[in-house]
């Protein structure tokens, strides 16, 4: 683009909008603005992914190793231990899908924390964002896309390992469940990224939450294997509510909203119930982090 700068257009370029035009157009459509800023922030994350793909590569390799290693760990377990006609591979795949999505979502706060530490977040905070939830939305879109890619790889690998393949409706339901768990955990992680003093603290929190939540869920073993106190904890763990319905889908091609998918210590819960609990978890987290997003940084 070759264009000479004449004093008049120099002035037009550098003058405040209020001088050049009669008045500042008042904000028109907050929904459109929210979408615009969310897409721009999402685009940034994808450009980063494209130019630094190692996170994605590691994120696909890791669950493959889980499948392989845990599968081999219980290879000689007695037949029928995990239920009639259920191999450990089939049992494990849903756990690995949910745990992988969960780990990715739990780490969602890290880039935001680094943005905060490098001052990049200030760029977002001094901008007239329609809502700071666009930062959460962008991260969720990014993490959910990664989680879908990972889940796809896991479902494929599990099928090759003999776990079978859910039908289209089943895959759709799995996607919905993965979405719900990723949304809540991503929001939680971003809330922490806004609240904690620095990335060291955030990594510490991720460290002490990640694996314990895995072991205190039904990802690796069914509730019936656990000590009673752990059963209680596992039944409070949101991961369990994502794993059990997916496991049910893997086991039953003819599932419905009313199908009982899990037996908690306090009663049986059907598919609809599990989804409601995940939704409630998401709503609670989004509500909780609201004051953190609004807070101005000191």
């Amino acid at each position: 683009m070759t264009q000479t700068i004449t004093p008049s257009n120099l002035k037009a370029t550098l003058s405040p909008k209020t001088i050049v035009r009669d008045r500042v157009e008042e904000s028109t459509n907050p929904v459109a603005e929210f979408i615009q800023e969310t897409l721009a922030l999402t685009k940034r994350l994808f450009i980063q992914l494209q130019r630094r793909p190692s996170t994605l590569i590691a994120g696909v390799i890791q669950p493959m190793m889980w499948l392989l290693l845990f599968g081999a760990l219980f290879y000689n377990a007695p037949q029928g231990l995990f239920g009639e006609e259920m191999s450990y591979g089939k049992f494990l795949a849903p756990g690995v899908i949910v745990f992988t999505a969960f780990s990715g979502a739990l780490n969602a706060g890290l880039p935001v924390m680094f943005d905060r530490e490098f001052g990049f977040l200030n760029r977002l905070l001094v901008a007239p964002l329609a809502s700071r939830f666009s930062i959460v939305a962008a991260s969720t879109i990014y993490i959910i896309s990664l989680a879908f890619l990972q889940s796809l790889a896991i479902v494929g690998a599990a099928a090759l390992l003999g776990a079978g393949l859910p039908n289209a409706a089943g895959l759709g339901a799995i996607a919905a469940i993965v979405f719900l768990i990723v949304l809540g955990v991503t929001a939680l992680s971003l809330g922490l990224a806004f609240a904690l003093p620095g990335h060291i603290e955030l990594i510490a929190v991720i460290f002490v939450t990640n694996l314990p939540l895995l072991f205190a869920s039904t990802a690796l073993a069914p509730l019936s294997f656990m000590a009673e106190w752990l059963q209680v904890i596992a039944s409070l763990n949101p991961l369990t509510y994502a794993i059990e319905p997916i496991r049910y889908i893997y086991l039953n091609n003819d599932w419905a909203i009313s199908s009982v998918v899990m037996e908690a210590p306090w009663g049986s819960i059907n598919f609809g119930g599990v989804l409601s609990i995940l939704l409630a978890f998401d709503a609670l987290v989004l509500l909780l982090i609201q004051p953190l997003l609004r807070r101005r940084f000191s």
Binding site: K11, T13, P16, V24, R44, R123, L124, P128, F297
Partner: protein, 339 residues
């Protein structure tokens, strides 16, 4: 006319540390206003409160008549902010960063494209636009950040220490650009601890020290307020101390001389503060002649912003005097302190 920026009795503490105490100043539309002060004086805290990054504990902060507390979003639309530490995503290209910034300010895509091209061109960034910002030099980074701050045509551009760490050439590019910006009608608020930067750019300034405004006005007003001119006198190229003492005693009694300091580190030269006037130099020379002393060199100058700064931030003045002038005149110091 509404002030571009109006800050009244701003207070801000972090825990038990008082960062800003009752700061007040106004920036008028179309001027470059400088906030001058040493590191840790409270400049950045003031800026953070202005840019809605920190919440004031007390006081009124307004941009174009809009309160930062009541309508932070409208304030953000009118402000451009260029932080001290340029925070760029080093994996994005310059153009990608500007596109992101344009979307955060909700520019339409064709308007954004046009503004981005104009600003890249104005700031001489065109050939770097499609390189990753991680490869940029300090000067390029600052220029890109300037472009980002101006995309949405703000009423007020706020720059925190805009030339810290820049080489001289980049510094002049930034200065030149800020002057152009003022000509085009954009109000500019800069903080700096470089005296010459504020002196070169600012129409008006406020000096902040330890969280308090201690002087406000145009550079020349502040210099005038300091009173006398500065005279540097050398009796010989290297004068013996006795001679310098003798000269000081005589000169101190002259009616227009306010203060005389012997500067040991400069070959016992004499630093005088004199009432402004044209005849001081010749009278000083005559006086010396009467007691049989020659004059090797003598020069008179207006006080610089440096002198304003030193006088206003007493603590630094002392330090500077201790370092620069070996002998101090306690009587004159007392006289000065009481002023």
């Amino acid at each position: 006319m509404t002030s571009a920026v109006s800050i009244e009795n701003l207070n801000k503490s972090y825990g038990t540390t008082v960062a800003v105490k009752d700061i007040s100043f106004k920036v008028e539309p179309g001027e470059i206003f400088g906030l001058l002060g040493p590191n840790g004086a409270g400049k950045t805290t003031t800026i953070r409160c202005l840019c809605t990054l920190a919440k004031p504990d007390a006081g009124k902060v307004e941009v174009c008549g809009i309160s930062v507390l009541e309508n932070p979003r409208a304030v953000r639309q009118r402000l451009g902010y260029v932080a001290q530490e340029v925070a760029l995503d080093k994996i994005l290209t310059g153009r990608e960063l500007l596109e992101l910034q344009a979307a955060l300010y909700h520019l339409g895509s064709s308007a954004a494209k046009e503004r981005i091209n104009q600003l890249l061109q104005l700031l001489g960034l065109e050939e770097y636009a499609d390189r990753k910002t991680g490869t940029y030099s300090g000067g390029l980074r600052k220029r890109l950040d300037l472009a980002a701050g101006l995309l949405h045509q703000p009423d007020v551009l706020v720059l925190d220490e805009p030339t810290v760490g820049l080489d001289i050439e980049s510094r002049f590019i930034v200065w030149d650009f800020l002057r152009k910006l003022r000509e085009a009608g954009t109000t500019v608020l800069i903080t700096s601890h470089y005296l010459e930067e504020i002196d070169a750019l600012a129409n008006r300034l406020a000096i902040i020290d330890r969280g308090v405004v201690i002087a406000e006005g145009s550079p020349s007003q502040l210099k005038d307020r300091l009173g006398g001119d500065r005279v540097t006198l050398r009796i010989r190229e290297f004068s013996p101390e006795q001679e310098a003492q003798k000269a000081r005693e005589i000169l101190q009694n002259l009616p227009f001389v306010e203060n005389v300091i012997i500067n040991n580190s400069q070959g016992n030269s004499l630093n005088l503060v004199v009432t402004r006037g044209n005849s001081s130099l010749s009278k000083i020379e005559q006086t010396l002649e009467q007691i049989g002393l020659p004059t090797f060199s003598i020069a008179q100058s207006r006080p610089s912003l440096d002198d304003v700064y030193l006088a206003a931030t007493g603590r630094t003045l002392m330090d500077a005097e201790l370092a620069a002038a070996g002998t101090r005149d306690l009587k004159a110091e007392k006289k000065q302190q009481m002023k």
